[in-house]
Structure formats: structure tokens, C-alpha cells
């Protein structure tokens, strides 16, 4: 019996003793449940597969088949089924074992009709709560996913269009604008780019959290990824008159990873370095390895991070205050970097000295291919 609109819970009982089957059937049918019984283990599994009962009682000791195996099969194959073992007093230990394998409760022999009804009621309540919580979790996940979709389209589209208008404005006005008007356009574009980066970074993080990235991992030569990062940031370094120097000792070292997110790891860190390094400064990238790990060192001669701020730099929206407006980032760049490193079972460390510079050390586990 179930309180929900005339639905009668369906219960399967697997026990080799016919008297137990009869007793259970009578006790449970009296309460309005639909009862199926069998004295044979394999037949019980077959019945459970075909009928998908809400609840199954399984005797642990049967001649034809081990009750433990039945518990294991049913808990794996039939989603949402609640399993209860029937056991003699002497086999409490095996009841515990069965609960480890997915049984929800146990019913010691001998038991009264009231006892089996009480256990059944509790088990069905548990099942109802579990179904309800699964439903709520799915609903929450669905809302989170659609929120990501919403942000990516509804926020990014207008922003992209505004950026395109500014691009157009520059083209159609060409030389007719005064310098101060051009400066304003420039500033607007920088702020828009910042907002665009913020949305992109936020989306990156959201997608890491929904786990849709680990499948893209494959064997990659780390140098190639690093080179792409360096290539992307070279023009920026030139504009800011910062020397970008790379020395790579082991060009062939491979790791397991996701190429595109790792490129972003490097562009994020190198990009950060350019923000805090004054013109004339230097960013040095070195790559080394030992038997187990590949290390990438990215050091700058920038303003450094105060020691009391250092523990927080990977936190979302944490920023080390800079003197210059151009240093404003999304506040999510390093959070992204840390998450990606975590997803690669990598490690990232940072050391810094104010006025001297900052050094990021990234460690990846080497991949040996046979």
C-alpha cells in the first residue's frame, strides 16, 4: 500500500522456505501491497528484472543461489529498488555485509507480521524520499545547465553586438573624430573586453564544474601547448616592452591533458605577468622534468604579490590591487587555472616578493607511452 493515489507498492520476496513466503504474502497483502514470491534465487533475479518491484526481501541463505549475489545484482541493475535481507540471528555479520553491498535494512528470523509490515513501511518511505531527492537534484542540475546556456547566449550576444558597433564606429568615422573621442572609444572597448573576458571565464568555470571537460584529455606534448601560449602573448609583451624569454630543456615530455584548457592556463598566467610587470621588465619561462613530473616555471620581474594576499590569489574575484586601471582582470583567471590544474591532477605553486617579482610553478605528471 502506498499513500500516493491508489498506487500499490510492489514487493518481491525471495526465500527458499515456502512457509516464510506464505507468511510474508499474507501479512503484506493484508496491508494492500502487491506481492510476488519465489523460492528460487535465479528465478527471483529474473522476476525482478521483468517486474522492477519497489522493494525486495532476499533470504541470505538459500540452497540454489547466494542471497548476497542477488543483492549485488539487484542493487546494480534495478534503479531505485530498496533491498532488505532476511537472515537468521546467527548471521548478523552477513547482514552487515549485505548492507555494504546495497541492502537498506535487514529482517531477522523469526519475525511477526507486524515486524515485516513495519520494516516494509519504513523501506517504502525511504524509497519515496530517495526518489523525491533524486528528482530535486535533477531539477537543480537542469536549472543550472539552462542558466549556463542563458548566460552564454543572452548575455554574450548583446555584448558582442555592442563590441561590433564600436568596431564599426571606428571604421565609419575614421578621421572625423577628435583624439579625445577616439580615446573614449578606446576606453569603452577595453571595458567591454573586460566584461567579455569575465563572461568567458565564468562559463569556463561553470563547464568545469558540470564535468564536461575530462573526456577531451589525450596524450599531448607539453612544449607545443606552451609554445601556443607564448605565441599568443608575444605581441602583447612587445607592446608593453616586456621581454618574454623561454628556455625549454625537454621538448618531448608528454602529459595527459586537454589542449585548449591548458593553452588557457598558460595564457592566463603569462597574461597576468604582463599586467604586473612594468615596461623594461622580463618574463622568463622554463620547463624542466624529472622521472615523474614536468615542471613549468613562469617568473616575472613585476610588482609582486604581498605575502598576506598570496594565499587568496586562486579565490574567485580576488584581486591584488594595482596602481593602474589596465591591471583589472576578471578576477576569475587564476581560479580557472587552479581548477584546470586540479582536473589534470597537477599542482600549482606561487612564490612572490614585493618589488622583485612573482614565480608560478606548475607541475604535471609525466606520461610514458609504451
Amino acid at each position: 500500500m502506498d499513500d500516493k493515489a491508489g498506487y500499490s507498492a510492489r514487493i518481491l520476496i525471495i526465500d527458499d522456505e515456502e512457509s516464510i513466503l506464505d507468511g510474508c504474502r499474507q501479512a503484506l497483502e493484508k496491508s494492500g501491497y502487491t506481492v510476488m514470491t519465489t523460492s528460487d534465487g535465479p528465478d527471483g533475479i529474473r522476476l525482478a528484472r521483468a517486474e522492477k518491484p519497489d522493494l525486495a526481501f532476499v533470504d541470505l541463505k538459500m540452497p540454489s543461489c547466494s542471497g548476497m549475489d542477488i543483492i549485488e545484482v539487484l542493487s546494480k541493475e534495478i534503479p531505485g529498488i530498496v533491498l532488505i535481507v532476511i537472515t537468521g540471528y546467527a548471521s548478523i555479520v552477513s547482514a552487515v555485509e549485505a548492507m555494504k553491498k546495497g541492502a537498506y535494512d535487514y529482517l531477522p528470523k523469526p519475525f511477526s507480521p507486524d515486524q515485516i509490515r513495519a520494516v516494509t513501511k519504513r523501506a517504502l518511505e525511504h524509497r519515496f524520499l530517495k526518489i523525491e531527492s533524486d528528482r530535486l537534484r535533477e531539477e537543480k542540475e537542469r536549472m543550472e545547465r539552462s542558466f549556463i546556456t542563458f548566460v552564454s547566449h543572452e548575455m554574450r550576444s548583446p555584448l558582442v553586438t555592442i563590441m561590433q558597433y564600436f568596431e564599426t564606429l571606428k571604421v565609419i568615422s575614421e578621421n572625423s573624430l577628435e583624439q579625445n573621442a577616439k580615446d573614449i572609444i578606446d576606453r569603452c572597448e577595453k571595458r567591454l573586453q573586460g566584461l567579455h573576458d569575465l563572461i568567458e571565464h565564468w562559463l569556463d568555470l561553470a563547464r568545469i564544474e558540470d564535468g564536461s571537460f575530462s573526456e577531451a584529455k589525450m596524450p599531448i606534448v607539453l612544449t607545443k601547448i606552451l609554445d601556443r601560449g607564448i605565441e599568443e602573448l608575444t605581441p602583447l609583451c612587445q607592446r608593453r616592452e616586456i621581454t618574454l624569454e623561454a628556455s625549454i630543456n625537454e621538448p618531448s615530455a608528454k602529459i595527459m591533458g586537454d589542449q585548449e584548457s591548458l593553452v588557457r592556463v598558460f595564457t592566463n598566467i603569462i597574461g597576468n605577468a604582463t599586467k604586473y610587470t612594468p615596461p623594461g621588465g622580463k618574463i622568463t619561462i622554463t620547463m624542466t622534468q624529472d622521472d615523474y613530473y614536468v615542471y613549468v616555471n613562469i617568473a616575472d620581474t613585476g610588482s609582486g604579490i604581498p605575502a598576506d594576499k598570496l594565499p587568496f590569489i586562486f579565490e574567485p574575484f580576488f584581486r591584488v590591487k594595482g596602481k593602474d586601471e589596465r591591471q583589472k582582470g576578471s578576477g576569475l583567471g587564476l581560479t580557472f587555472v587552479k581548477k584546470i590544474m586540479d582536473a589534470h591532477n597537477g599542482k600549482i605553486e606561487v612564490t612572490s616578493q614585493e618589488g622583485v617579482g612573482t614565480r608560478f610553478i606548475l607541475r604535471f605528471t609525466r606520461l610514458y607511452e609504451l
Binding site: 547566449h153 554574450r156 550576444s157 558582442v160 553586438t161 564599426t168 571604421v171 563547464r207 585548449e260
Partner: protein
């Protein structure tokens, strides 16, 4: 003097259409606008443009692909270069969007927003 080359722009964002149209006109092209996929396919047939630029995400996430497929099987669409525009980085690490198994072939994919110089450069190259 040669007649102006005709560019067909297909995007459901009117403002994006206007912004891009002005850049292309500055580059000396005659520009036609379609605000949805169906209008775009119809206009491609009636106008015989020299090139078409199609947004990937319109009414649906992959409407642009449908448009490209339809164009590629039409007489006009077979011959002309097609550029697809995307606000998401198709090469990027984690797309919530899954492209169809068989991507229709376009000549170029550009990301929004597009730098004016790049747009004109690529359109020029494809029309050469």
C-alpha cells in the same frame, strides 16, 4: 568599373547585421540582410550573392548549420564561398553545445566580434 560584389549577411540580431553591413559597405560591397535562416536561403536564390556570411546560432543553437546545408545543396550556394560566424569558440575547451556529427563545409569560421580589418581582409581573399 566593376559592379560591386554582393554580400549576403544572415543573422537574427538586427544590430549585428547593421554594424557588419556598415563595415562591408565601407569596404565597397553591396550588402543584403536576412534576419532568419529561411529568408537567407530564399535571398541566396533570388539575389545570387558572391559570398554569404551566416551566424551559427539563430533561432536554434545550430540554425546556421541548417542554412549552410541548404545553401550547399542549392545551385547558387554550391559555388560561392560561405563564412560562418560564431560567438562561441568552436575550438574552445568546453562547449555546452554539441555540433552535428557532420559539419557542413564552410570556407571560414570567424568569431564575433570581428575586427573590421579582418572581416574585409577575409572577404576580399575569398572573393579573389
Amino acid at each position: 568599373m566593376d559592379a560591386k560584389k554582393k554580400v549576403l549577411l544572415i543573422d537574427d540580431d538586427k544590430d549585428f547585421l547593421l554594424a557588419t553591413k556598415l563595415i562591408l559597405e565601407k569596404g565597397g560591397y553591396e550588402v543584403f540582410l536576412a534576419e532568419d535562416g529561411k529568408a537567407g536561403v530564399d535571398m541566396a536564390k533570388s539575389l545570387s550573392p558572391d559570398i554569404a556570411i551566416i551566424d551559427m546560432m539563430m533561432e536554434t543553437w545550430s540554425e546556421g548549420f541548417n542554412v549552410v546545408s541548404k545553401l550547399r545543396t542549392s545551385d547558387t550556394g554550391k559555388k560561392i564561398p560561405l563564412i560562418m560566424l560564431s560567438a562561441v569558440d568552436l575550438q574552445g575547451p568546453y562547449q555546452s553545445f554539441e555540433p552535428p556529427d557532420e559539419l557542413p563545409t564552410v570556407d571560414l569560421v570567424l568569431h564575433k566580434p570581428i575586427k573590421a580589418v579582418e572581416l574585409l581582409k577575409f572577404v576580399g581573399q575569398l572573393l579573389r
